[in-house]
């Protein structure tokens, strides 16, 4: 605990606030993930953890490391940048995979307008895209 005692109070308060904010938002996202009823609703819950849940903890870690090391340390931003880039890609791909699976089964979760398969021309276009 010796490195923590050397932090001045004016810096300890924002660090504590950011870390607690990030952890609480992550828990709220996880609870929403448990409680929401539909997969397409549930897809939105982890974004709390990937936006400000992650952001608060990374900013707190950055401030703490900068104060402890005595120089500006920015490499926590690498994690933040990587998560900001990769989380939407993952969620888009998962959403499209779930839509594909629900369509091929004719699931009742989908609204009527989305339940039809795409017309052959557009399906052919999207095939040539890939």
């Amino acid at each position: 605990m010796t490195p923590l005692a050397a932090i001045p109070l004016w810096l300890a308060l924002p660090i504590a606030f950011l870390v607690m904010l990030g952890a609480t938002l992550t828990l709220i996202g996880a609870i929403g993930f448990l409680r929401l009823g539909n997969f397409y609703d549930r897809l939105h819950a982890p974004t709390l953890a990937t936006s400000w849940g992650m952001g608060g903890i990374v900013l707190g870690s950055l401030l703490l490391a900068t104060q402890v090391e005595g120089r500006i340390i920015l490499h926590e931003l690498v994690i933040a940048f990587a998560i900001l880039i990769t989380a939407p890609v993952t969620l888009m791909l998962l959403g499209r995979a779930a839509l594909h699976r629900d369509r091929s089964e004719g699931s009742a979760q989908l609204p009527e307008s989305l339940r039809q398969r795409r017309s052959p021309e557009t399906a052919e276009n999207s095939e040539s895209d890939e």
Binding site: M1, P3, L4, A5, I7, P8, L9, L11, A12, L13, I15, A16, F17, V19, M20, G22, A23, T24, T26, L27, G29, A30, I31, F33, L34, F39, R42, L43, A45, P46, A49, T50, G53, M54, I57, V58, G60, S61, L64, A65, V68, H75, E76, V78, I79, A82, I83, T86, A87, V89, T90, L91, L93, L94, R96, A97, A98, H100, R101
Partner: protein
């Protein structure tokens, strides 16, 4: 004083994040379909990465930062692979 504040905040963050990990684990066990489980695994990866960051702050070492970065990268790759698997039934075509 500041040590007490930071110890409390980091302990609180660890407790809350481990609770969030348990909740994501419940969704992995219960998840009605495969995509729910994949999404819960992705959320669990991110929560574990945050736990690593908080533990690194608490212990004052840089090693946990590298572990957190590796967990983030692995989480992205595994989630993409599983999503591709759900899409096509195979990962590499």
């Amino acid at each position: 004083m500041s040590a007490a504040i930071l110890t409390f905040a980091l302990g609180y963050a660890q407790l809350v994040l481990s609770l969030a990990a348990c909740v994501a684990g419940v969704r992995i066990l219960r998840g009605p379909r495969a995509q729910d489980r994949v999404l819960a695994l992705d959320a669990l990866y991110i929560i574990v990465m945050l736990v690593f960051l908080v533990t690194g702050m608490q212990l004052g070492t840089m090693f946990f930062f590298e572990a957190a970065m590796i967990v983030a990268a692995m989480g992205f790759v595994s989630s993409i692979a599983l999503a591709k698997f759900l899409f096509r039934g195979e990962v590499i075509e």
